[in-house]
Symmetry: C2
Subunit: 185 residues, 2 copies
């Protein structure tokens, strides 16, 4: 090999090497970009999934709290008004008792017996929150006017003159309105 | 510059370049490892977070379903036995009515009135699932033996000879046992 040839070869080698360096750098950059891109998209996906489940978790937790609140309220209402149905059905028995007590000529013994039944019924109902509707001034929420009379000095307007049938309420809830005669102006 | 010197320089350049390539490759590998390691740890973290929230979400969902089931069961029980308290308090009124009806010498009119009250009470209670405890054969779940008599041909063992006080139950739940006299072998 001539000296010139040798030199030429060396020059070529240097050039090749430099190209290789450049190529290697470019390749590295590309590979890096690809890898980073892949990793980022996988990371983003995982982060989105995490966010999604976090939102689902928070939504269900809030829903559960609402449900618990509603369920407690419902239970309280159920307990508060639990005696409503039976009470409504028992009220006519009280009416019957009052009619029986109004019968003329009953003996003292029978009267005592009837009053005892009446008292025990009224007391049982009262224990469960059921009471007579007060009959002082007319209130359309609790009274039904079955008759009116003109108001006078003794019976001012809206006063209740007579009660035909007692009304009953369970706590603030009306079970049956009182049937009344009202003075009207 | 001599030809030999020139050649030496070229040789050095080649060597340097080759070292640079090697160094560059090593560096690239290290950087890649670092980057990939970072991305993987971040990815793993995000994946763990996603898994964690998924588990939380699933747990809360299951909890909510359980809560809904329990709440429904509780409501059904509350509704089924809602009349229990009032019924228990009304039973003594039925006892009083029976005693009043047993009084000698009451007029037909009073008797009719008392029976009307009794019937309306019994019917109101029955509508709400409250009934007399049957008194055929002795059952310690529903009867209380206040007295025993020796069994004979007319009264076989475990038969109920007499009822001192009626018992009542709400659906299958006992409100008050019947007080009875039982024949014993």
């Amino acid at each position: 090999m001539s000296k010139d040839n040798k030199e030429e070869l060396k020059n070529d080698t240097i050039k090749e090497n430099q190209e290789e360096i450049k190529e290697s750098e470019t390749l590295t950059e590309e590979v890096l970009e690809d890898i980073v891109e892949d990793e980022v998209s996988e990371l983003e996906e995982a982060q989105n999934t995490a966010k999604e489940f976090e939102n689902k978790y928070l939504r269900v937790s809030a829903e559960m709290q609402n449900m618990q609140r509603r369920s407690n309220e419902e239970r309280l209402t159920l307990v508060k008004y639990r005696s409503q149905d039976l009470a409504k059905k028992i009220i006519p028995s009280l009416d019957n008792l009052e009619r029986a007590l109004a019968v003329e000529g009953i003996t003292e013994e029978v009267k005592k017996g009837l009053e005892m039944v009446q008292e025990s019924l009224v007391s049982a109902l009262k224990d469960e929150g059921i009471e007579e509707v007060p009959v002082t001034t007319f209130d359309h929420n609790f009274h039904m006017a079955v008759q009116t009379i003109p108001a006078d000095d003794e019976h001012p307007a809206d006063s209740i003159v007579q009660v035909f049938q007692k009304g009953y309420k369970l706590h603030e809830r009306l079970l049956r309105p009182a049937m009344v005669v009202v003075a009207q102006a």
